[in-house]
């Protein structure tokens, strides 16, 4: 092999970011991408909107296709190719062509593991029934959309009330289904505190979504070989003719582990800021890898598309001889559910308690616009700060508008290690259509500051 060869395992967000970045910096490097599925570089986060038909065609979710990467970026993409094993000593990977079954060994100089994550599937009888789905690769979204088109299901059941559950509740409702959302824990959206989730629950209820908490499905029952009912651990039975199981993600890290690559405590691949694993010339990025959490001060597993893109870019840059680093995340996540914008960054009160942090928390409500400007609505903000210095540790928000980017203001402040005292003095924009003179961000920081000072 004459040219230096860079092999990427997995061609979605992290993998294609890395391949593109490396190509830009090293025009003469050979770059091969092996992707198990039939698509590369697609927007997985768009699947709920494909299913609701807000996005008409799955083509719209494919940012670039394999042909584009070959022709425009000189990157060889092999679809339906699975990596069976990594041999770090020999610096080779064993690849299986899933169409032909043929296996072949490819040498590499640099390797990126970007195998992503898979849905966790709880032990439910009848998981393979027609009408029961998980939602991960683009193929899943297409299959669900087709199933709805062909079978016109009336009753949709969602297992798991996390972000995907929220987005799918809206999606199914818009697709004309009556939705039941089932969560095994006592509260929905477990990554947020109750002051936020209670607002979300009201919104779900307002949109006729039935929420069942502390319940699990033990069996899917079929009629005429299609899903008809779900049987719960309580013995109850629910009518359902389509179900999506969204019970969290697990990192596809087994192939790394088998090759002697170190995993973190989270089960995802352990990486440093350069996205290097413990084995030379092997990198990992995206949903199969950990990320450093700037508030918690340790590696965590929070698989999200933005992080995957950033980690991929950093891996690609370093693989091409650069010296990039990914400083870490602060746990930012936003989503839309019906007419609500919801977001979080940093840590929640629940998390602060689990971590044993000496914290103070406070909740405020304040207008999204000037009080007299038409369309104003309330934003609820919950902040968590460390008690001794007042340093902001986390923010959660919910409202009908103006939430998502205000969360980013807090994400920036947390990254800069600002205190609530500093945040309340920030020179934020004010104009009646967009914000009140005291922005909810400032009010929230001021109130928590006063509480910390004992003047609350």
């Amino acid at each position: 092999m004459d040219r230096e060869r860079f092999i990427v395992i997995g061609g979605v967000a992290a993998g294609m970011s890395a391949a593109s970045r490396a190509r830009k910096l090293k025009p003469d490097m050979e770059i091969l991408v092996f992707e198990k599925g039939g698509y590369v570089s697609y927007a997985g986060c768009g699947l709920p909107y494909l299913i609701s038909d807000k996005v008409k065609s799955s083509d719209r979710l494919v940012v670039y296709d394999a042909k584009f990467f070959k022709e425009k970026r000189n990157i060889d993409v092999f679809l339906h190719h699975e990596v069976k094993r990594i041999f770090p000593r020999q610096k080779t990977v064993m690849i299986r062509n899933m169409a032909t079954g043929e296996e072949k060994e490819y040498p590499y100089d640099k390797l990126l593991i970007a195998t992503g994550a898979r849905p966790f599937v709880p032990p439910i009888k009848g998981m393979d029934s027609a009408g029961v789905f998980t939602l991960r690769p683009l193929e899943d979204g297409i299959a669900i959309k087709e199933y709805i088109g062909r079978n016109s299901p009336k009753q949709g059941l969602l297992i798991g009330a996390g972000y995907i559950g929220m987005e799918m509740a809206e999606s199914f409702t818009e697709a004309g289904l009556k939705v039941t959302l089932l969560e095994k824990m006592p509260s929905i959206v477990g990554t947020m505190d109750s002051e936020i989730t209670e607002v979300i629950e009201q919104e779900l209820s307002r949109n006729s979504v039935t929420v069942l908490k502390s319940k699990a499905v033990v069996e899917f029952a079929s009629e005429n070989s299609h899903l008809s009912r779900a049987i719960l651990d309580s013995g109850e039975s629910l009518n359902a003719d389509i179900a999506v199981v969204g019970a969290g993600l697990r990192p596809n890290s087994e192939i790394a582990k088998d090759a002697g690559i170190e995993l973190g405590k989270t089960g995802a691949i352990k990486v440093n800021q350069r996205m290097e694993t413990n084995i030379p010339d092997i990198y990992a990025a995206g949903d199969c890898a950990e990320a450093y959490h700037l508030v918690l001060g340790r590696n965590v597993y929070i698989p999200l598309g933005t992080t995957a893109n950033k980690q991929g870019r950093v891996a690609g840059e370093n693989i091409a001889g650069g010296s990039a680093s990914f400083p870490g995340i602060v746990g930012t996540a936003i989503f839309k559910v019906f007419d609500l914008e919801v977001g979080r960054t940093g840590i929640t009160e629940k998390e602060a308690r689990v971590e044993g942090i000496d914290y103070a928390a406070n909740v405020v409500e304040h207008g999204s616009r000037a009080p007299y400007y038409p369309g104003v609505s309330k934003i609820r903000v919950k902040l968590v700060a460390d008690r001794s210095m007042g340093r902001l540790l986390g923010a959660q928000m919910v409202g009908r508008e103006g939430v998502s980017k205000r969360v980013d203001v807090f994400a920036t402040a947390i990254t800069a290690q600002m205190s609530v005292h500093e945040i309340r003095d920030l020179d934020l924009g004010y104009a009646p259509p967009f914000a009140p003179p005291y922005d909810p961000v400032l009010i929230a920081a001021d109130e928590l500051h006063k509480k910390l000072q004992g003047k609350g």
Copy 2:
């Protein structure tokens, strides 16, 4: 006088914030507010929306009235009372009751000057014609609205293409007028760079607003004692039956100067971070005072409602014996003009050049939402950073949505002295309805970073 007495001159944003804060901290302090106008604590920034009838009644703009302050906060508000003179040695103020003409001297222990600003009126013949207005106190907004209701003007002329000019162009258009906007400088919105103002000009044009640059009015001509035409310095003549002159603001600092209080180079009252003037027990806050600019590192005069509120709160806290400080501003301003959101923070390229800063600037365009999500539109972002360290100095943005709070992300980053390199790694929220995986904020920072690295 038994109780300690705090006198406030001027009862709008800064004055009433200070009075309320002092009352909260010192329940037994005597607090007197003298206000020249007929209203206190009103939202001056809402006037364009009152005039367009988006806000139906001026009552909606009055946050709290004098009665509220007396009954709920034990603050004595004297409307239509003008302060004629401050005697710092005697610690008294001479007050004139504008209704009766009576003058009276009031002793104070603590004094806050919150006299605000007034519109700068260029030398134009016929400024006192019926139909010619400036826009500052609530009374002006009410008068313009009444004039439109009574006289149904068809042709609106706006002198000055600053923020007020932009908001009034929308307001007059919504009120059914055909609008001409006249600016004496060669570009509109002089506080922004041309890459932003060209987008605004397109939007004005799309909404049938005529923009005339590098032109000034020398005379307003009347017919039947109402404005009918404006005569320009070029000799041209424009039909106009209502005109609003918005040519900038001047601080009402004369009364301070007459009392020996130091003004800054800007002509506004010089204050420290505690909002103290150079004379003991005399404070100043709001549109009559300067503010420290965290990027420029010196006092500036940028009169804005948010700053007035914050400065007032700090003054009130210190006057009540506290120890608050106002660290300063970064020059954030946002506004709406028709379907555009526009914002800026930090300094522009123009300002960087004037300051002699070794800077780099870059402009990008990127989507407000995921590219496939309905309603996505382009946001244009211009960033300015210092060349040696890459520290962000300023950001400007324009787009149809998602601008105002993204500006706040940059405002926060500038306050935290972040570099574009740090900003591009920020963990910002991503969800298809609200942002693309790489937010415009991150793209803009990344591109400028690359330009600084010579990899652009």
